[in-house]
Structure formats: C-alpha cells, structure tokens
C-alpha cells in the first residue's frame, strides 16, 4: 500500500539548514540542563531543610514535572502564562518547559543518589569540625553527583528529544521546527523526517559517548 518514490537529493540539499537547526536544539538542551541542574540542587536542599513550606514546594514541583506530559508543560509555558499576560517567546517557553521537566526528574535522581550515601559520611565530616552545610557541600554533594551522573545523561538525551515539542508553541529555528517547515513546503515528509531522525540519533549518541568519556575521566578512582 505504501506508494512513494523517495527524493533523497532534495532532502540532502536541505542538510546544512537542518544542521544549523541541530545546533539550536543542542543549545536549548544544554541550557535547559544547566538551569534544571541548579534548580534540582535547590529542590533537593529544600527537601532536606526540614522546612515544611519549602519541602512541600519541592515535592509539588517534582510531582507535577514527573506526572504531566512534557508537551503540556511547554504548551503551558507559552499559552498558559500568555493567558495571564506573561509573554514568553517560543524559544524561552521551550527552554522553560524543558528546564522545569529536567529539574523535577533530576531532583528525584538526587533523592535516590542521596539514599545511596550513608549517614556516616556526614557524621565523619561533622566530627572533623565541618558545619552541616560544609559537610553537605564538600562530602555529600560530590558523591551524590557521582551516583547521579549516569541517570543525568539519560535526562540530557531526553532533553534533546523534548526540544522537538517546540513546534507546538511556534518554534521554527530548531531541528524539528526547520524540518516541519521544509515538510510543509514540499510535502516530502518521509525524507525530511527520516533525515531529522538520523540527526537526532547521532546527537543523542554523541552526548552519551561524551558523558561516558567524562565519567571515565572523573570517576576512575
């Protein structure tokens, strides 16, 4: 039933344009990871703080981020906030949506990682004369990041793939946006989507390899 002659040439001619879009995709993914990481550490501290309001806030964030679709989170960042007069551009809305999602998942990763670090580590730090914050920052946090590192690369790959949801809020400079635009002009859906899929795959693969390399360098001992 599949009745189609592929025009690969046409798709390959658009490759430079698509690679430019891939750079934007990577940029958003990296930025969203950096922002998500900072927020996730804050959320983890909130939970540890024992303050009920802060702890509740952190739990609520994680609940919403992990149990609602990423598409919905990005859509709300653009149209939801737009409804109350806060206007985020497609780029910012996409970045905010993914960072929100990243923060929720990373905070949960950190919680798991913290459980893997015995209390005796903190107590050892305290017995050396460190303050509670010092022993967290210098002893627990580095070990937590080490345990959480590989799950973090998963989240990075997921962040790259989530950028493709930007088309729903009018994003047209990333890989998915450019692909969608090329598709609409020419109706050569399968060639452009196949090419985009290959590019996404290669980026995700490279990121995983880079993460392995970093892990090998950092955690050899």
């Amino acid at each position: 039933m599949f009745n189609y002659t592929f025009h690969w040439n046409q798709a390959l001619r658009a490759l430079p344009q698509m690679l430019e879009g891939a750079l934007v995709t990577l940029q958003i993914a990296v930025l969203s990871m950096a922002i998500g990481l900072a927020i996730a550490i804050a959320l983890t501290l909130f939970r540890l703080s024992g303050n009920r309001a802060l702890g509740g806030f952190a739990r609520a964030w994680v609940e919403v981020a992990r149990n609602t679709p990423a598409l919905f989170q990005i859509y709300m960042a653009h149209f939801g906030l737009g409804g109350i007069g806060i206007h985020l551009s497609p780029y910012t809305a996409l970045l905010a949506g993914i960072a929100f999602n990243n923060a929720g998942y990373l905070a949960e990763n950190f919680r798991g990682a913290l459980k893997a670090i015995p209390d005796t580590q903190t107590r050892a730090g305290r017995s050396l004369g460190m303050s509670a914050l010092q022993s967290f920052r210098l002893i627990v946090l580095p070990q937590m990041l080490r345990v959480a590192f590989l799950p973090m690369t998963n989240q990075m790959v997921w962040a790259i793939l989530m950028t493709s949801l930007g088309v729903t809020v009018g994003m047209n400079t990333d890989l998915a946006g450019i692909t969608q635009d090329l598709n609409a002009r020419s109706f050569r859906t399968f060639e452009f989507f196949a090419l985009a899929a290959v590019i996404y795959y290669v980026i995700a693969k490279l990121v995983t390899l880079a993460a392995r390399l970093i892990a090998w360098r950092m955690f050899r001992y």
Partner: protein
Amino acid sequence: MKTSAIALALATATALTTPAFADKLDDIISSGTLRCAVVLDFPPMGSRDENNEPIGFDVDYCNDLAAALGVEAEIIETPFPERIPALMSGRVDVGVASTSDTLERAKTVGMSIPYFAFEMAVTANDKAGIGSFDDLKGKTVGATAGTFEAIALEEQVKAWGEGSFRPYQTQADVFLALSQGQIDATVSTSTVAQANVKTGNFPGITVVGKAPFDTDYVALFTNREEYGMLNYLNLFVNQQVRTGRYAELYEKWVGGELPDLTVSGVYR
C-alpha cells in the same frame, strides 16, 4: 494434449476473473467508501458542530464527490501537516483539505484544477496599533505552519529584515496567541479571519485589511500517478461550478461575492 488444453482453459479463466488493472477510481467504487482527508480546524471550510459532527464547505464537497461516485463518504480529520502522510500511507483516498496548489507540492501529489480560492486578510490585536498590512513591518506575526499564507508571510518578514515570524500548528493556536498578545497580527484566509472574529472566542482582535498576496487557489489532491482519479476530480470540480452547486455551497458557508476559479490568459 488433454492436459495442455485444461491448462490453457485454466489460464484463460484466471485472466478473465482477475481484473487486469484496477486503479484508485475502481478501488473506491468497488469498496463503496470514499475516504476524504479534511482539516476540521479551519472554519468555515471544516470544523465541528455542537454534536461534534464534521461540518463545513470541505465536508459538503466530499459528500458531493462521494454521491457522484455512488459511494459513502468517510470524513477523516487530518491536521494540515498530516495530509500527505495520510495519503501516502493509504489512510485516505483524496484530500479535500483546502490545499494550496504549489508547484513544489505538485512534485509529490497530484493536484486537481482549483476548487476554491482564498483572499488573504490581516487580523491584528487591538493593542498593537496596526491599521494595514504595511504596519506589520517590525512586528511579531504568526500563521499556521506550512500554509500558503505562512510561507508568504515568512518570506515578507525576511524581506523586511525586522520583526519575527512564528508558525503555529493549528489555526486555533494562531488566534489564541493573537488574542493573548503573543503575536501582534496574523495573515489568514479572509474566510477564516471573519469566522474566528465572529465566534467571540478570541477577544481583542479585529480584521484590519487585506494582505497583498496572490489569490490562494486550492485543489483536491490524490496520488500523483492516479490519472483516472485525477481526471475524475477535474471533471467533478468543473461540474460543481457548471451545475451551480459551487455557488450554493459558497453562499451557505461563506457568503458574499463568489471568487473566480480561473486565471485569465491561461488554460489551467
């Protein structure tokens, strides 16, 4: 001798019973169903009524086509970007989906002669201070991704060298963004603009004038190599005009002056 005679008889019988060449037109007639891709987010061409039933010009047009073929019509809701995958994967037989007949797209699908023509209108957010198309220079504008007007508007924004363009996935998102002030203005078909302003779902927007783009002729489409089907579609479009049915449907869904489907000075 005897066995070869039987073999010959069998071969002849097989040749007679299996159709030599069934094309899409035959397939539709023998299946008894015509499956049309229709965009139901594009009033007054396609939308849903209170009972969630598909209505609109394109819906009626598909029903007419099915009636002419003597089969049942099946309306398959298809968003703009999914029209071609739906056709290529065999989920629909024909697109009655307000599809602009660009030369680029004709490399992929077979287009009929135009069955409808759109004028382009500018709709602006009241706070943006836009009175005409030229005021769009430097503003943030948007349109439905991949449509005729989106492509023309994006090129215009690039030519101006200032302002920005945002493609949204659905017409509803464009008007939502416009109403919220996320974008200052949009260019859409005038029929859609008026229909959306009239619903009152999108407060704070007004149709401010025409956009100086070419008339957007839209065609029915099917697979590129289905000449039998394309020939039938062309004749059908012609007959719709000839019998006055086109004018009747236009009056029912749009109203006002009937657009001309021909371009003077050329045959097609």
